[in-house]
């Protein structure tokens, strides 16, 4: 069974480049442009991992990850952002309980490794049921 990853970023070029990097990965990659679309997607789909940017118009990534934790706590949460405000980071760790934070510009190896670890965490959760 292929696990699914959901990518959330307001810049389409970022999503395209991430998708290219995950071209040969053993996961399905879905992309959305904003928080509203992400939440709508999660109502009917079940990805193992959500990777979200923080600074987006309308609603920010931190609030998305907080809501994901609340509503679908099993989904592993990762923040991928160029915005490195300490306050945001602390809240991301403590409130949204993110699994990892990746700073932009990201390194492909680091990204792939973290995705694997995140999916592994997700499967362990499932097994513990």
């Amino acid at each position: 069974m292929k696990y699914e990853i959901l990518l959330v970023d307001d810049e389409p070029a970022v999503l395209s480049s991430l998708k290219r990097e995950l071209r040969k990965a053993p996961f399905t990659v879905s992309t959305v442009n904003n928080v509203a679309e992400a939440l709508a997607y999660l109502e009917t789909n079940h990805p193992a991992l959500v990777i979200s940017d923080h600074k987006m118009p309308e609603r920010d990534g931190l609030s998305l990850l907080c809501e994901v934790k609340k509503r679908w706590p099993k989904i592993v949460r990762v923040m991928l952002s160029g915005y490195t405000d300490m306050g945001i980071l602390v809240e991301a760790i403590n409130e949204a309980e993110i699994f990892r934070f990746i700073a932009k510009p990201w390194e492909k190896d680091v990204l792939i490794r973290i995705i694997h670890e995140a999916v592994e965490k997700y499967t362990l959760q499932e097994d513990n049921l």
Partner: protein, 466 residues
Amino acid sequence: MTSLRILSNIALKIITQKKGFADRINEVLNIIGNHLQVSRVYIFRDNEDGMATSNIYEWCKKGIDTQINYLQNIPYTTIPSWKPMLEEKGIIFSEDISKLPEDLQDILAPQGIKSLLVFPLNVEQKISGFIGFDENIIHRKWSAEEKDLLKTISGIISNAYSLEIKEEALRDYSEMLEKRVAERTKELRDSLEKLSKAQNKMIEQEKLASVGLLAAGVAHEINNPTGYIISNIQTLGEYFSIYNALMEAQEKYDGTNHDEVCQLIQNIKDEENFDEIQTDITDLLKDSLAGAQRIKNIVVGLQNFSQPENEDYSRVQLNQVVEDSLYVVWNKLKYKSKVSRDLQKVPDILGNANQLEQVVVHLLLNAADAIHDEGTISITLYQSSKNIVLEVKDSGEGIERKYMKKIFDPFFSTREVDEGTGLGLSIAHGIIQKHQGSIEVESEQGKGSLFRLIFPVMDKETSENH
């Protein structure tokens, strides 16, 4: 000389202010002494607390010893009878001092005084000294006329003395005031300097803070394109390897193994999802190039944003600026909207025409972008008392209330990410500020927006210098 004559002489002497007070008094004492042929004439002044008295002026007949140096700071406690007598009777007179109280005899006898006549010196209705006349040679009977004359003279001298004391006090006071003013002025100057320094520091800190904010904003804005450019180039490398593999496979053809080679090539294509790669390369290149342009624009925008060293300001005709700006953007505007203009002749302002054109162009482009199907853009230029006003109005989508405060923030943008850097309005704002002007915005969602630039008219001096 008659008493009247003497009195008028003395009065004149005292009134005539040409000489200093001491000189005048000494001359007066000289006149009296000679006229009356007394041994000594003197004036005593009490100390501030009234507890002691000192001899301040003295005239001695030839042959009579001076006493002034010994008669300093004499406590009234040593001559307790003195003051009460002056206060009660207004006079101390004695033909023979041996008839006076003992305490007085003790001080007078050693001076060789045989008879004396003393009147109080009144300053502001208070006795603050006395004027006296000694007779050392004989026991003198003071005539009524002499008493009257000397009493009157004492009165004149008292007055003159009161005046002198008041003038002295005035001089001291004015000196003190001057000193205080000088001190205060220095204090004020110091405060001003401190304030000025503090203000400069605050401006520096504000600059640093905004540089900090800008740096943070820039870093964030540049991180995104940097991220996907690097990623895409890496991916391109992978794609390149695939193309290489295909080339190598093709080169394996030796004339006989056609099917094998085709199979090899097909395998590679299947494994790598080659059809997708072919279209993806086009997208990849497009994205990356756009990203690099974006970074370039941000840097250019930043260069505009920072304070340039040389500001070449000269007379600017805003009418011309508007015309030039319209010329630049005409192609973009003409399809989207009807452009109307109402440009009145306005006086020149002092500024940089290029920068102002940059601002007007930006406003016009924003206006065009706000219009989606069809609409109007209107430009007005007019003078309103001491200001010149330039308005760019559009009938576009308007600005949401919640964004109104933010539109001049650097990097703030309501548009798609690859449409502009978000620096345009904040740069425009900076330019207008440097021109001593201001920008106002009015907007209603769904109806349109109006941007108003206000410039001060050049004052006469500036106008003459340029």
